[in-house]
């Protein structure tokens, strides 16, 4: 044996490398994570993430229809920033659509718009934006403001050519609804409520239940008169309480540290938080019934958490994502919960307005419950 072999042997190194590969092949979940997560991140950051979202849904409240207004609407459509629905709606409907998050913008054309324009009085158009997520609307607002000056250039001809002043012929008044100062914290903090709950609730339930099985204490426990349901509820309850306490903490911080407004009903939000906690705990139970040890439980939690945080609209504007990513996002409870918290806190939404996001949350929970509890039962035998 030569001297080098005493300190470093390629044979030994190779033996370890081969062994690692064999183990990697056996541990399918880790392997899937090593391949899956970069793939997920690549497609997400490569395609999904668009910090300059276009085609934002908008409606027009037209108190007046003229060639000018038609021309303005057509021109705004051409910017690609707005997807303006052709039917005009009433003021009340538009306001509700904005509250439900169905549309991002409402363009209001006042009754005397054309008359004022022709007379050369300062004509105004009102563009209301749902500014709960400033990053979703910021670019669109800036672009629209910039082009509004040149919008009617071709329509103001003949006797009206005089209206083509250096100044814009009309003023585009922009209202950033719910978040007039376009503060990011207004958007991030209600979202954080959901992110924190998703991570802590799934992880603690999944780990807590898997730990009992992994350490062999579950068998001991089940040999006692204790019922499976008691084990489950008993193990989950402390985490629900911890979750609620941490929520109280986050909401207090939101109010007093970050001065995020709270317009809606606190009891309603608490009820939704409880529902969301339940949905996440059911995910945790499902994970624990699939995972063979705590490590796997942690990996699976991560698998669920990563798309949740990336595709729910927390990190990036939901409408900036491609359609396939939006569909995945719609299937995740965090997406809906985040819309509800933002709606209740910033818009003062009530039960009627949050219903479109409430039923998907309920549905998710029921489906997961059927899956998770069904499996949990069987794993006890």
């Amino acid at each position: 044996m030569n001297a080098l072999n005493r300190y470093f042997s390629l044979h030994r190194l190779l033996a370890i490398i081969v062994k690692e590969f064999i183990q990697m092949r056996r541990d399918k979940l880790t392997f899937a994570m090593m391949v899956g997560i970069p793939l997920l991140q690549l497609t997400l950051f490569g395609y999904a993430i668009n910090s300059d979202p276009k085609h934002l849904p908008a409606v027009v409240v037209a108190h007046e229809q003229s060639e000018f207004t038609r021309s303005i609407v057509a021109a705004l459509r051409n910017t690609d920033y707005l997807d303006i629905r052709s039917a005009t709606v009433s003021e009340r409907d538009a306001s509700e659509m904005l509250a439900r998050g169905e549309v991002q913008f409402v363009l209001t054309i006042p009754p005397d718009f054309s008359r004022r324009l022709i007379r050369g009085e300062r004509a105004q158009l009102l563009l209301e934006a749902d500014a709960t997520d400033p990053s979703a609307t910021g670019n669109a607002i800036a672009a629209l403001q910039q082009i509004s000056g040149s919008l009617l250039r071709h329509d103001l001809r003949g006797p009206l050519a005089a209206r083509q002043t250096a100044e814009a012929p009309f003023e585009l008044v922009i209202h950033r609804r719910y978040n007039p100062d376009a503060l990011a914290s207004y958007n991030v903090i209600p979202g954080l409520v959901g992110v924190i709950l998703t991570m802590t609730m799934i992880m603690s339930t999944a780990l807590g239940l898997t730990r009992e099985v992994e350490r062999g204490t579950m068998e001991n426990l089940l040999a006692t008169p204790v019922r499976p349901l008691e084990v489950m509820i008993g193990k989950i309850m402390p985490y629900v309480i911890v979750g609620l306490v941490s929520m109280a903490f986050v909401l207090t911080a939101a109010r007093w540290l970050f001065h995020v407004p709270f317009i809606g009903s606190l009891p309603l939000l608490c009820a939704v938080i409880l529902l969301f906690i339940a949905a996440n705990l059911v995910v945790g139970i499902t994970v624990s019934s699939l995972a063979r040890n705590q490590m796997q439980a942690l990996q699976m939690t991560f698998f669920f958490f990563l798309p949740s945080i990336l595709l729910s609209g927390f990190m990036f504007p939901f409408r900036g994502m491609p359609v396939w990513a939006q569909w995945i996002g719609e299937a995740l409870p965090l997406t809906h919960f985040m819309r509800i918290t933002r709606g209740v806190m910033l818009k003062g939404n009530g039960l009627a307005e949050i219903w479109p996001d409430l039923w998907p949350l309920l549905l998710f929970m029921l489906v997961m419950m059927a899956l998770g509890l069904g499996r949990f039962r069987r794993t006890l035998d």
């Binding site: 350490r215 062999g216 204490t217 426990l221 006692t224 008169p225 035998d381």
Partner: protein
């Protein structure tokens, strides 16, 4: 409730996991107040059988009663009256000794929890260490603590699944003293083990292989009933002798016992013939002896294997 003389009464109990039959028509009776040794190789279905006895697993076929309760329908009553000690340490390593005992006591809905825990700690001699984490105890102490936890609710039957695995001889001896003390108070004990010296300490034994009961009776009965003939050989050159005899017709087992060798077979004449030449060797002394339990069990295991593979072929 039928309060007969049997603590455990299994008839044709069967358990399958997928296509694998783990316990195959097991019929076995354990009398009240006896220490019953449950033996068998790894994977023979001991743990699965015990789990069925205490209602943790549902049998796929056959029937059984534990303390008179139906193991399928009355698992809840069984759990209340049975103490089950799992193979692995089943208490919480991150709870203190006292917290573990208090937890078990309240799970069983015991009254006077505090007092019971105090008594248990005193009997264990762990009062001074009651606030130590259970995970920091040695193997022997963990096992004693588990037994104490199993006894908190005053069960009438103890099911111990390999309780002494990885425990030093002194602790094992103490443990068995405790088991016999409990048995003398009228508690029935079923204990699974791999150790032959422990098997000898049981009142009766059951030996299972491939999920089937191969033999059942007192250690003495088993040895007497067995058709096994054993020669004990001492002297020089027994290692070479063992090699020479291995696989010879009529010789079923050749086993080293320290400085001597056990040569066994079930056909006395064939064994006689196979060993005749060697018995003339002056360096060794041969004598017919009673087979040891270990000879017997290895023989049974071989038999079970033949049956099993034979069945498969047919």
């Amino acid at each position: 409730m039928n309060d007969g003389a049997l603590a455990i009464d299994l008839r044709g109990l069967t358990k399958r996991f997928g296509a694998r039959t783990v316990v195959d028509a097991l019929s076995m009776q354990v009398r009240r107040g006896e220490v019953f040794g449950f033996l068998g190789p790894n994977g023979s279905g001991k743990t699965t059988s015990i789990r069925m006895m205490c209602g943790l697993l549902t049998a796929d076929g056959g029937e059984g009663h534990t303390l008179g309760w139906d193991i399928r329908r009355e698992a809840a009553q069984i759990k209340r009256e049975v103490g089950y000690m799992t193979q692995r340490f089943g208490l919480y390593e991150d709870l203190s000794i006292r917290e573990n005992l208090a937890f078990v006591a309240s799970i069983y809905g015991m009254d006077r929890t505090r007092q019971r825990v105090d008594t248990a700690l005193e009997r264990l001699g762990l009062q001074s260490r009651q606030h130590q984490l259970a995970g920091s105890l040695s193997g022997g102490w963990k096992q004693r603590l588990t037994l104490a936890a199993c006894m908190l609710h005053e069960p009438r039957l103890l099911l111990l699944d390999e309780p002494t695995a990885g425990v030093d001889p002194k602790a094992r001896r103490d443990f068995w003293e405790e088991i016999h003390r409990l048995a003398s108070q009228g508690i029935t004990v079923l204990v699974s083990t791999h150790y032959m010296d422990e098997a000898e300490r049981c009142h009766r034994l059951g030996y299972i292989a491939y999920g089937r009961l191969m033999a059942c009776g007192t250690p003495q009965e088993l040895v007497e009933r067995s058709a096994l003939h054993t020669w004990q050989v001492g002297g020089e050159g027994i290692t070479a002798l063992a090699e020479a005899l291995q696989g010879a017709p009529g010789v079923e087992m050749v086993t080293h016992f320290g400085n001597s060798l056990h040569v066994s077979g079930s056909d006395a004449a064939a064994l006689e013939a196979a060993t005749a030449a060697h018995r003339a060797d002056p360096r060794q002394h041969w004598q017919l002896t009673r087979p040891a339990l270990e000879d017997l069990f290895i023989h049974l295991m071989g038999q079970a294997h033949d049956n099993f593979t034979g069945n498969r072929a047919s």
